[in-house]
Symmetry: C2
Subunit: 312 residues, 2 copies
């Protein structure tokens, strides 16, 4: 029920995913608003959390909302994974309150893949779940981000960078300096990733780093700044090339690699279940890709690997 | 002496500026390394602060460095303005220690113009001077940024936004929430700017806001993330269009508007003198534009206006 093009595009994507990806899909929402579901089963509910509601509050009040019911379906093992293009805060809150945290995880975090055409994406974690963080949480974000990079792109020993404003370990806020000290201790990585020190904003969209760790405030600002800049520049380039139809064709692969719809969205790491957070603007194609990411995450036991990486 | 292409490009730009902009230029540096200065006078000094040195420390030790001598020239009224493409931290430290803060200014801040093709740039303040901030400093940054937007682009009543992770005043860190409360008080703006509330990263590169206020850590991350993303995308687009020479011509105006060299760099606001911080990669053209910005800032009495805006 959530997202700019819901429910029509979401249902369209779900039907396509069921037909092409060899997965069973169950829709969660208000049957009266859903129209034809193409034969997909429905968990019926009557409430919807709006894009602009306070997520945590809404989840407590709207117990019969599609987000809460979807999270309950995962908790009750009626579903292996939940996918939402709706209110991000409410998606996180329903996953957290219904699935609960993995034992030992201080705070779940949003891991967002940043496309790097020609290379594997860079995982940005935390992209917005926790506006305020403590240094040990950032160490857990590093571990969880590394698990994701390994499970999703097969990077055996991901390179983890700490987002700061200079390479030297003396640069940044007290939080960053403390996290640097913790991450530099080989015990933090347990050999599962390489801490490559501080990285800067300009490194995110390069193949020099696999996982960029930061607090959710900085991560969200960086993510949205990048989105805004790329959207703006893409628009200007398209204006400039509109007289050159051949060139538009030449730019299609690049545009496709940069399109957030291609990557299937972000993942909430640290809860007892797979929770995919799709972009609010998700098209049917984005939903198909989100389903693929969700399926792969379940098949590769992402949650089990996260449990192993965050225990003890 | 500072910057990736110093001293040759810097001197080349200085000579060109002296010839075309009706300003007197004095170079500050080591005569043995400078080569032909085209007849420009030189304040001779023997030390250079390296790009990778700790700025604050280096300024205290290297008292005969070009940066310290340049700041002293402004302090002693031998120059109206200093311009550097060198070590940013050392540029700030020398300006601060030699020119001193404007009375009443808690912390000088770096104001960086972010190009918005088709519109006036957005002023991002603080872009990196203060990794940690208090809320009242952000209010001063808003005032100083508004003075710059008015002096430089003639925006009578700049729209000031506070960088956060959602539009609601409840979003963000405690610092952002406190600053929101202070900025929402009409007394903060004294009618000199309009506080439009929180803005997000994606708003920076739009014409919806004139001044974006943030702490120096977040601002620097946002700036470098944007630089990295735009550089990356520009490179990919140029690869794709390399077979279309006509198109390269069509893209030149856009590339020029986005080029940091066009905008003459950032300004350190809050010290008793004009201090222009040019990009480390500055070409001769960047230096000419920096001189133009410096000249205009002096002629429009930017420092006097900042004094008036931050007193009482």
């Amino acid at each position: 029920m959530g997202g700019d093009h819901a429910p029509a595009e979401i249902i369209k994507g779900a039907i396509e995913a069921a037909q092409t990806l060899d997965v069973d899909i169950v829709l969660v929402g208000d049957p009266d608003q859903m129209g034809d579901t193409g034969g997909l089963p429905v968990i019926a509910c009557r409430e919807v959390i709006d894009m602009h509601e306070d997520g945590a509050k809404a989840v407590r009040i709207k117990k019969d909302s599609s987000l809460v019911r979807a999270a309950e379906a995962v908790r009750d093992q009626k579903a292996s994974c939940m996918i939402s293009a709706g209110n991000t805060g409410a998606t996180m809150a329903s996953a957290l309150l219904r699935m609960h945290r993995i034992e030992g995880v201080a705070r779940p975090a949003i891991a967002t893949p940043i496309p790097v055409p020609g290379s594997t994406p860079t995982v940005l974690i935390d992209a917005g779940a926790n506006a305020e963080c403590l240094a040990p949480w950032l160490v857990q974000f590093a571990r969880m981000g590394a698990v994701l990079a390994r499970a999703r792109w097969g990077i055996v020993r991901p390179r983890v960078g700490l987002l700061s404003i200079g390479e030297e370990e003396t640069k940044g806020t007290p939080l960053v300096k403390e996290a640097y000290g913790l991450l530099a201790d080989p015990a933090s990585s347990s050999g599962d990733f390489d801490f490559i020190g501080n990285v800067e904003g300009r490194d995110i969209m390069t193949s020099d780093v696999d996982v960029v760790v930061t607090d959710g405030f900085t991560g969200n600002v960086a993510l949205k700044t990048l989105e805004g800049g790329l959207r703006f520049l893409t628009g200007k380039v398209l204006d400039a090339v509109s007289g050159f139809p051949d060139l538009l064709t030449a730019l299609v692969p690049l545009a496709s690699e940069l399109d957030p719809d291609t990557h299937g969205g972000a993942v909430l790491l640290g809860v007892n279940g797979v929770c995919i957070i799709s972009h609010g603007s998700s098209s049917a194609r984005a939903i198909v890709n989100a389903v693929r990411v969700g399926r792969d995450s379940v098949e590769r036991d992402l949650v089990g690997q996260l449990r192993a990486a965050t225990s003890g």
